[in-house]
């Protein structure tokens, strides 16, 4: 097991290098002179030269990349052009907001998706199954910014639930009533995931339920509930876990719209603002952090496969 994890960790190194190269080239893929763009169209040549010097743009590319990589490893992501604060600090305060949002949404979508999928599979081809699958199709097709707006319209403006208060604030003031702040954004983000997981669980479960060993379990006299959970679900989980991992990754990058709608000060907002104000170091930083997190989540998914299916170690 440890060997498996170590090998899998080593395998992520090339991926990480690839990510850094892409992020690094962001700066150089911008048409024109980045220093000029950062300084602004009408900035005097002296100021542009200063920025160029500060960003090290006069060095040869490989030297620049080496410095960039070295800085990342030591946790230095550069300085925000706009606020002059270190990028790491800018991200640091917002990172957990987005991660928390993504984690809660994932928990909600896994919970709802699994239950709906299992019910659908066990009662397949009944009215209940058809209804669940139609609801899931809606959940999947609704753009989440629209869903978010509708939720605000009906629940928040109708004073049922406050739309949002920052997690930080919430933490400071204790939980109390503050769970309500999380509800709407989490529903907004979790709906599509729940729908995908429900559909995946259903098809995966249906496949397993048709297997001979399910019949064997029934012939042993195993209770139907245990047949479903111990024999069927455990075997059906691998594709579901894959989807959960991908969904979580997608959430990290996909909270932009939701954060905007609910005025949440998270990574998504930070990225959008940075792009709008051409704050390239911040853009680089956020893209890098989200990518690293994505790689890490996929690593976790791979390791969980190993727990679900002992045979995976063999290859």
């Amino acid at each position: 097991m440890t060997k498996f994890i170590i090998r899998r960790l080593i395998q992520t190194i090339p991926v990480l290098l690839g990510v850094t190269i892409l992020v690094f080239s962001l700066m150089h893929l911008i048409p024109g002179d980045p220093a000029q763009i950062i300084a602004g169209e009408s900035a005097p040549e002296r100021q542009v030269e200063q920025i160029r010097e500060r960003l090290g743009l006069n060095d040869p590319l490989h030297v620049q990349y080496g410095k960039f990589l070295g800085n990342i490893v030591t946790g230095d992501l550069g300085q925000s052009v706009r606020s002059s604060r270190p990028v790491a600090d800018e991200i640091g305060t917002r990172f957990w907001v987005t991660v928390e949002l993504a984690v809660y949404s994932t928990i909600v979508s896994v919970f709802l998706g699994l239950i709906a999928g299992i019910i659908s599979a066990v009662r397949h081809y009944t009215v209940l199954d058809v209804v669940i699958m139609i609801v899931a199709l809606f959940g999947l097709s609704m753009p989440n910014f629209w869903l978010g707006l509708m939720l605000i319209q009906y629940f928040s403006i109708g004073n049922w639930m406050p739309d949002w208060m920052s997690f930080m604030q919430m933490r400071a003031s204790g939980w109390g009533d503050s769970w309500k702040q999380v509800v709407l954004p989490v529903i907004t983000l979790g709906t599509a995931g729940a729908a995908i997981i429900a559909r995946m669980t259903r098809s995966s479960m249906l496949e397993v339920i048709g297997q001979d060993y399910i019949r064997t379990a029934r012939a042993k006299g195993v209770k139907e509930r245990i047949v479903i959970y111990r024999h069927a679900l455990k075997n059906a989980l691998i594709p579901v876990v894959t989807v959960v991992g991908l969904e979580f990754g997608a959430l990290l990058g996909g909270t932009v719209l939701t954060e905007t709608i609910f005025a949440i000060n998270g990574m998504g907002r930070l990225t959008i603002d940075a792009i709008r104000t051409r704050d390239f170091p911040v853009v680089q930083g956020t893209v890098l952090v989200i990518s690293l997190l994505f790689v890490f989540v996929n690593l976790l998914v791979d390791i969980s496969y190993r727990f679900l299916n002992k045979r995976i170690e063999l290859d």
Partner: protein, 346 residues
């Protein structure tokens, strides 16, 4: 001979609905098993043979209520299994076990062997907890595996070994009846023999009763005491092994038996070739199910359903369902257009 009835199947029917149309209504039924009755006595091996799709596996599953039978009575030691509640039936499963055809698909790939076997003992409470490990190792030895293999996963075993695991699992709760649903057909011939011999040894040792479902007449001949021949969901003939092989009465049984290869190149054998395919069980032929392919069929066969019956020239307990057993036996009736096309040199 005072034989004790263990399993009595009466008028068993298994119809599977065919859903169709916009609203998914039932448009028709597959009549997989259509009104069959037979009895299995304690300690014997009864085989059900027939072509693919004749309803033999369905019969086995319907007896165990793995598919709920449409109609009929399945009495096991006097209790009607079809009227038991789900939980009563679960408890009854201790006495009725099944060994499945496919040793690869019928074991949960995520469970180690000891868990596979233990689960049955646990549910049925057949063996106290502290003794289960010991019992698992004992069972593995009984079926010719090693105790140290108990903690391995199914994929670490070969097909024959897996089938032995299936047998050990079935034996773990000390059942009275084991239904072997094509239990050896997925195995190599050499392994088949090993497993069959194992089954016979276990029968002697534990006093088991087998209902053996197979399409392989060679296997059936080896293991059975009595044989049931099925065709399109109906029983064509029931007999003890000897009279069935030496003195088949039903034209279908004769055709079936003529298909057994004889390991003698000089022996000229008349192979009865049946015309056409097995008709669909959705809309089975009227009268005798076999009349569309039977070389003796007459008008009567198209309209009247034949009953299982015994005639004076047949041994006691030997029954066949044909209107013309006597006429065919005496040679009074000859098969039609059997001449050039259908007689091949074997």
């Amino acid at each position: 001979m005072a034989k004790k009835e263990l399993l009595k199947v009466e008028n068993l029917k298994q119809y599977f609905p065919i859903k169709g149309g916009f609203l998914g209504r039932t448009v028709n039924y597959v009549k997989a098993v259509d009104d069959i009755s037979f009895t299995v006595y304690e300690g014997e091996t009864v085989s059900i043979v027939g072509e693919s799709g004749c309803g033999k596996s369905t019969t086995g599953r319907a007896i165990l209520r793995l598919d709920e039978p449409t109609e009929g009575v399945v009495s096991f030691e006097g209790t009607d299994l079809t009227t038991l509640s789900r939980s009563e039936m679960r408890r009854k499963r201790k006495d009725l076990q099944i060994i499945f055809q496919d040793p690869y698909a019928s074991i949960n790939p995520r469970q180690i062997v000891s868990a596979v076997i233990e689960e049955a003992m646990h549910i049925q409470n057949a063996v106290p907890k502290e003794k289960r490990r010991e019992r698992i190792e004992e069972l593995l030895q009984t079926v010719g595996l090693q105790p140290y293999q108990a903690d391995r996963y199914p994929h670490e075993f070969s097909g024959g070994q897996r089938q032995r695991i299936g047998i050990a699992r079935a034996l773990s709760v000390n059942p009275k009846l084991i239904i072997c649903d094509e239990a050896v057909s997925a195995l190599d011939v050499s392994i088949q023999a090993q497993v069959l011999n194992l089954l016979e040894e276990l029968q002697d040792e534990f006093g088991l009763t087998y209902l053996f479902i197979s399409h392989d007449l060679g296997v059936v001949r080896h293991i059975s005491d009595r044989i049931i021949v099925m065709y399109l969901g109906k029983i064509m003939e029931i007999s003890d092994k000897k009279s069935l092989f030496e003195n088949p009465q039903h034209p279908y049984t004769k055709a079936l038996l003529s298909a057994i290869p004889v390991p003698d190149p000089d022996k000229k054998k008349e192979r009865i070739m049946l015309k056409g395919d097995v008709p669909s069980p959705i809309d089975p032929p009227t009268g005798c199910r076999f009349h569309t392919r039977c070389p003796y069929a007459t008008e009567k066969c198209v309209t009247d359903v034949p009953e299982l019956r015994t005639l004076p020239h047949m041994k006691e307990g030997h029954q066949a369902s044909c209107h013309y057993i006597e006429e065919i036996h005496s040679g009074e009736m000859q098969p039609r257009d059997y001449s050039e096309k259908t007689k091949i040199k074997a």
